[in-house]
Amino acid sequence: MCTHFLSAMAVSLLLIMSCTSSDDDGLDPTSNEDNATSTEFSDCTYLEPGDLAPGSGEGVVDRKYWSPNMISPFGTVAAFARSQVYSPGGLGSSSSDQCASENFEYPHRDTFCERRSADRDSYNCPSRKIHQGIDINAGTRAQCLTLLDAARSVRNGAAPEIANVIPVLAVVDGQVSYIGNYTVDLRPSEGSISRYRYLHLNMATLNVEFGSQVKQGDIIGYYSNDFGSNTTTFHLHFEVIAFVDGVAQYVSPFASFILAEERSKGIDCVRYEG
């Protein structure tokens, strides 16, 4: 009986330990990779608005929900707001591996005021040489590698549709108000947002054209690395331009994006404590 009792205690202890450890490493990137296209997620974490990557400029604490009702542009697909320039694969990183695992891990990081070389204005960044949007990686390392392979195949003549791996969604109801070389603008049907701007979609396979009426959640295109006649790393650059006190301004999408991630994925996002 003593043996059975000890066994029971051991099993119980193991259960309790496994429960605790799953709380501790709720950000396990491996599990994120496995779940990237499902609706199961570890609860996400975020760094404070304005907490930019080290050495990437001076941020601003903007906790305003400029777009409180939007959904994540990636819906239920894993998405990670992070610096494109100062993360692996970017020009400001020592690593050239844009598919590095850390690019697909929380915490979300604000890049709205991240330093750029040329003047760009915004509602509230301390500097004028700033990013004007946030960068978002989507999917998993495995999907990133698949996309790189697909891009190679497209360059060798394959149909561009083979690179359509991760859909990008209309964050609100609205109409497509501009399509540029590597830009798609969405004008919301109501409110004071002037336009949502999506950069670097697969422009050869857009699901919309100028004037298309879209509902929140409709696919407008696919996650890509299109930069006009060039390419960038696979990421979405996402901007929000709003009329503020009568003037059209670039405002930070970061707070709204975190809220949208919670809504779209049914998860809780908590402040990252390091």
């Binding site: 119980s12 605790t20 929900y65 003047d119 004007q132 070389n181 603008d185 409110g191 009329f243 009568g246």
Partner: protein, 205 residues
């Protein structure tokens, strides 16, 4: 036999207790962990701006009498809740290359708060976003938005932007380089010259 039953019961009881403790611990975590709570009190107030249709109608009439070459013919059927401002079909811009720019017919969408237009030039596009709504910050609460104004120049990654007020409505005028490589193809003077060229081509809500 009885002893086995007791032991098995004990085992099950312990496992159930452990699972319960685990569930309770997670439930506690959920309660104690704050969800994202950026400053909900800073959710933005919005304001709808009244439009001075009388002035817009008068100006549209003047433009028609002057046989203005704005793109009236292509947009006669549009219903916009703000006066429809558009550039002419061609224009000379001091800093543009080429200086004389021909514009494509405007592509326009309308909704219940305004319209959005795209006019493609030879080397850049003009984007007009018009609205009768704006966020109002605490600093501007109670302060009216001016009916007519020309805002400051704002530099963009591949262009420039100025917001103007006309007849009460707000118009964000963006000029974007057509070629991604031409990051500096737009100047403030070009945007202001485009703004000067705008005229009302529709005057009914």
């Amino acid at each position: 036999m009885k002893s086995n039953f007791t032991n098995n019961s004990l085992l099950i009881l312990c496992i159930v207790c452990a699972l319960s403790a685990c569930a309770l611990s997670q439930a506690d975590d959920k309660v104690s962990t704050p969800k994202v709570q950026f400053d909900s009190e800073q959710s933005m107030q919005q304001r709808t701006i009244p439009i001075d249709w009388e002035s817009a109608i008068a100006d549209a009439s003047d433009n028609a009498n002057r046989n203005n070459d704005a793109q009236l013919q292509t947009n006669a059927a549009l219903q916009s809740p703000v006066p429809l401002l558009l550039p002419p079909v061609s224009i000379t811009l001091s800093d543009a290359f080429p200086v004389f720019q021909n514009f494509s017919p405007a592509k326009i969408i309308t909704d219940k708060r305004g319209y959005s237009a795209v006019v493609q030039g030879d080397s850049f596009a003009i984007l007009i976003d018009a609205s009768n709504q704006t966020f109002v910050t605490e600093q501007h609460n109670g302060v009216s938005v001016q009916a007519n104004f020309d805002g400051d120049y704002q530099q963009l990654a591949t262009g420039g932007q100025i917001t103007i007020g006309r007849y009460g409505a707000l118009y964000a005028i963006q000029l974007l380089c057509s070629q991604a490589a031409l990051k500096n193809c737009i100047t403030e003077r070009m945007v202001r010259e485009v703004i000067e060229s705008l005229s009302v081509v529709q005057s009914r809500p």
